[in-house]
Symmetry: C2
Subunit: 210 residues, 2 copies
Amino acid sequence: MIEAGAPGTTGGVRLRKQIATRRAVEEAAWRLFTTKGYHQTKIDEIVQEVGISQRSFFRYFDSKEAVLFGDWRRDHEELARRIEKADPALAPLSAVRAAAMSTADLMDRDRLLVRTRSELTKSSPTVGGYYRQIIQPAWEEAVASALASRLGVDPDVDPTPRAVAGAAAGMLNAAVSVWVAGGCADLLTDLAARSFDVLNPPVERPTGDR
Amino acid sequence: MIEAGAPGTTGGVRLRKQIATRRAVEEAAWRLFTTKGYHQTKIDEIVQEVGISQRSFFRYFDSKEAVLFGDWRRDHEELARRIEKADPALAPLSAVRAAAMSTADLMDRDRLLVRTRSELTKSSPTVGGYYRQIIQPAWEEAVASALASRLGVDPDVDPTPRAVAGAAAGMLNAAVSVWVAGGCADLLTDLAARSFDVLNPPVERPTGDR
């Protein structure tokens, strides 16, 4: 719906204003999280900083947890588009791998935010719940639907799309775990490549490995 | 700790009593869930049925959700043992696959219970939260530690054990999704085999598939 407004029209102005408000909310929230602490920050304080109403806040984010994770729905849509448009010659896992590497690249750039999110995901049941119950299943579902449309199969009948999506999520998460455990010192893209190589090696695996 | 008591000793008697009480709690709970409904059943009613105290209940289960999922910690220990003891010639994913097939086989036998759990996991945030935040990460952690000990690597440095564990979880879950979507009519072991075949084919994959 947001994408509908073309630049230069009233829709375009409204769109730009929405994006600006969304960003202002995120920035104010992160300032408060950093100075006061995530748990001590109330939504009331965030909206006061931005000068908007609570109601307006909830037009952009459904909770304080949602602000912490930014515009992840848009990131998932972008990921799905990349998978659908990837070279048709690529095997399903290779198409997901290529798309997931751009996610890893974004996380490398955002590593300070990612570390904070990851620590809160471990220490806070509400943040952990938001991540594990909302974001993670949505990632797998976005990847599985994109694969299902690539392969022309029904994901409720053929386990392939969900198997590949779940496997890719597992491998990407493994890389993120190691990355965070090492203080995000390495490049996540390198760790993700190692992690994907475990089951999706870039060269044929030697005979007798199984 | 429970395993410490040998049969015939006082420890053995205590162990048998503990197992019997645990089973009685599970049976009473499932009777009530089936007749009254899961949400309408209170822990108070379960303990009344069995004739034990609330305190005694909490020695076996940490919540009503925990009763619903049975003795999953013991199942995970068994899974880890199978992976550690599997033929050293097997590649990591093949060792996990073999162990996961016995999980699938158990679920085939318990399919009525699994369907109920799965429906409640979807419809109830507390049950869904217990599954996604407690059981699922514990499964992956049990598999990853077993693999780390098999491979002699530190899972916080080398992404391999968690990558394989996460990928295996993803593939097994994909099979369970399709199984439940089809009313558990097929054999889960068949669906799980199809799902694992996607990334871990039993024969060498043809050249040019990637």
